[in-house]
Symmetry: C2
Subunit: 136 residues, 2 copies
DNA sequence: ACCAATCGGAACGATTTGGTCCGATTTGAT
DNA sequence: ATCAAATCGGACCAAATCGTTCCGATTGGT
């Protein structure tokens, strides 16, 4: 019931990137310096975040990163799904395979819990996390 | 963002145990047979569930298990916490240690998300899961 | 007092996660 | 047009956790 460290770092990284909205181009090294995370870790994160369509990466000498969408349109759920894959509490939700064979009475209830959780994460936009000191 | 298989199995096991409310004494082997889970796995689960105070175990020849509380007073959050420990999305919530050193702007917001998640799981009592076929 | 059945804890193996490194690609200047 | 610098992207390796299995300690019945 704990999300991975990578997902946690991804949220922090995106939050730092959101503050660079003015200077559109930011580098992974710069984000690492601001967040205090290891540089290679941030590189791996921006790779996944770019593949998920949350960051727009520009290669080359003067390249860098920028948010693909406005910060208000990016939620914690988006970031978590980009790093950890789809939000699915159990294997039942994705229909992968259920070890419990026959009459699994709990199976119909998991999607309800799953959506409740996803809704809680989707309710937090990136703009709220980027605020420096204010608590929600 | 996926809870462990053990936690999933624990919910199924508790759901099966709730159906034995009449015949107070149930064995771990019987629960395993009903759920289709491996017997040693169920044994490990009942150990943790008993230590958490959700199940009451009686040792000896004619011993067995029974719910320590009414099924209506046991929620999914209780079961998950019994198996996986406290519900804490990030290390920040527990105050263990935060790799992000100085100005972590996201830190104040995690408890809010954490409580929202816990509330979603605490809203599902065991009685709801024990129903045979009805969907919530 | 003996036996049988049960829970409780400890050890092993497998899988996923986290961290590090190097190569491919693109832009800017000369 | 060529060179050089800086960037992202993917691949490799170590570590921790999770899942499973097995064996011992305890208890009640006979």
């Amino acid at each position: 019931m704990r999300l991975s460290n990578l997902a946690d770092y991804a949220v922090v990284t995106m939050s730092a990137a959101a503050r660079h909205c003015g200077g559109a181009r930011t580098s992974a090294a710069e984000l690492a310096a601001e967040t205090g995370l290891p540089v290679p870790t941030v590189q791996k994160l921006v790779s996944k975040l770019s593949a998920a369509g949350l960051l727009r990466s520009t290669r080359g000498a003067g390249g860098g990163l920028q948010l693909a969408r406005p910060a208000a349109a990016i939620t914690v759920a988006d970031i978590v799904e980009a790093v950890e894959g789809p939000i699915a509490l159990t294997a039942c939700v994705e229909g992968t395979d259920c070890s419990v064979e026959h009459d699994c009475t709990v199976k119909p209830h998991w999607p309800v819990v799953n959506e409740a959780l996803r809704g809680a994460l989707a309710a937090i936009p990136l703009t709220q996390l980027a605020r420096t000191r204010e608590i929600a």
